[in-house]
Symmetry: C2
Subunit: 346 residues, 2 copies
């Protein structure tokens, strides 16, 4: 359940394509590299620009036992936003595209939806009307598509969807639209004994069903928005049921709150791409230990998308101002990254 869902405009054609999910290209195992003494490039998909230099300088400093800024292993906490930071979020959050697909699938059991908004609009691919339904309409679509089932059922539905769906414009499975340079960054940090977490406005159970294998991040290190659930003993076959009620919104001020709730430590590294990530970056920036804040700036209208200020998805304005003021590192996707997606390596 993402707060994002309530503030976005859509321009989407939904495709149902029955195809096998391809395994993404496994990024180079940075751990092995780091453990050898070979002077090798840990971030091969990054150009040799300032962003890359800053990251490497930080990691080398906090892992150097002789540095005054050395950080003990248990405090090497790194938190990453997901949508727009680790994978693409255009032309709409993938979770919303899932919700719309799911409504269409469910429509067979709901003949009344043909004449009931906002469902009618979904079935007719009428995005204008969907958006006109506002927060209330979008919330109804999300609740209907995400709740009323058990956690196991939901996981299977999401996993089936990711295996059979393709991105509307890139025409590849959604989980191939992760950023190769960020996969390398995750591996590089882990090779230096950082613990990597996702801290996203996206629904935690939606993400857990998809991204564990993609990012090599276990479910217990994925933090997101959540709905309320309840335990049902179910006559000896216990299940957890998903209820149509918001539990926690892991966005904006919710991000440091979520970090405190789930992790209980302040990160020394955090990365985001929108003003919704600003409070998370402020939180890590307030760490008394040496810390690093990273903003991904979407500047590549050819290979990905270009947007920032005023974008209904991933809007970034205050964050850029604060990055500039505080000397945070800003990635210029167009100029700092050699490739965007793993499949470009082929």
């Amino acid at each position: 359940m993402s707060a994002h869902f309530y503030t976005l405009s859509l321009f989407v054609t939904l495709l149902f394509v029955s195809c096998k999910q391809e395994k993404q290209i496994s990024p180079v195992t940075q751990e092995e590299i780091a453990q050898s003494n070979i002077d090798i490039d840990h971030l091969p998909s990054w150009n040799d620009t300032e962003a890359k230099k800053n990251i490497i300088a930080f990691v080398e400093e906090v892992t150097d036992r002789n540095s005054v800024n050395y950080v003990e292993v248990q405090d090497r906490i790194a938190t990453f936003d997901n949508d727009g930071t680790l994978w693409t979020e255009q032309p709409a959050y993938f979770q919303l595209l899932f919700a719309l697909d799911r409504i269409k699938t469910m429509a067979a059991d709901h003949p009344e939806w043909k004449n009931k908004q906002p469902f009618k609009a979904v079935l007719e691919d009428d995005m204008k009307t969907i958006m006109a339904s506002g927060h209330k309409g979008l919330a109804e679509l999300v609740m209907v598509s995400h709740t009323g089932i058990t956690t196991e059922e939901f996981e299977k539905i999401v996993q089936d969807w990711i295996k059979t769906s393709k991105h509307p414009t890139k025409n590849v499975p959604y989980d191939q639209l992760v950023y190769q340079p960020m996969l390398e960054l995750l591996e590089y940090l882990r090779a230096n004994n950082f613990k990597t977490f996702i801290v996203s406005g996206g629904g935690v159970e939606f993400m857990r069903a998809i991204v564990q294998e993609v990012y090599k991040i276990p479910s217990e290190q994925i933090i997101g928005s959540s709905i309320k659930t309840e335990f049902d003993y179910n006559e000896g076959n216990p299940v957890i049921r998903r209820l149509p009620e918001i539990d926690f919104i892991d966005d904006k001020e919710g991000k440091p709150v979520g970090i405190n709730k789930y992790i209980g430590k302040k990160p020394i590294f955090s990365a985001g791409n929108s003003d919704g990530d600003l409070q998370m970056l402020q939180w890590s920036a307030s760490n008394s230990k040496k810390n690093f804040e990273l903003y991904i700036h979407h500047t590549d209208e050819v290979r990905e998308w270009a947007y920032d200020k005023g974008s209904p998805i991933g809007g970034l304005e205050k964050g850029l101002e604060e990055a500039s003021k505080n000397g945070w590192t800003v990635v210029d996707m167009k100029n700092d990254w050699k490739v965007i997606y793993p499949f470009e390596l082929k």
Copy 2:
């Protein structure tokens, strides 16, 4: 904020003793042992009774690649209750003793408490009146003593308390009242690549301030009850403030809900000591993978306490019935454990 707080009777003398906290005896590093080929006892403080044999048989089976019940490392999730399972919970939950101590400390700034219940009763060590104040009174004591400050301030207060307080009858610092056999069990599981979690009705930030070092469990693997918090940018010095409102009660049906929320995987091993842990054990028992459920039965009125059915703290009745019905392992503390506390090893 524990639901426990609302269902207990107290018989407590509170002592303030200014003494340095002693480091607990570090349990043998089971990891080193497991990695060698020496045939050594992994659970030296356990007698060679059925409980110990069952535990070892389970661990050897799920870690044996040739077994049909082999479990992959990422699924080796073990969840432990805290109060009464990893440390003593008598004559009252340590967190409640902390709350009462804290009220006394705060009283200097609250002269009105001398004439206002339930505070008056706390200041006069009048346990009968405290208990008579019921859920409402106890909740007020907990809220006043646990909220209205930042998370950093709360952590420091708890850490100062644990360093300067002693258990009312055992007369040692509270964090020495952990169970040596359970420390060994935690180490043994971790040496076999289990990830160990605490899943307790106790307040998560109270536990995190104390037990990380004691149990060698990092804060992000400690799950508990929580109060609501809010992020405050605080003019560039961000803090998280603790609000006087319950967020989540991690007890009974809340335990599997908390496990799903924080971990996102079903455990294959869970341990508890009261009916408040029953749903957690039911949850792990419903795992399609080979699993193990453990109940600690408090049977040692000499070295620790003896209680089960009808006890206002750690009541255990249904759990024993279900353990018997399902073949779960029940530890008889008196007969299965050579020592209770680490200091008995001296």
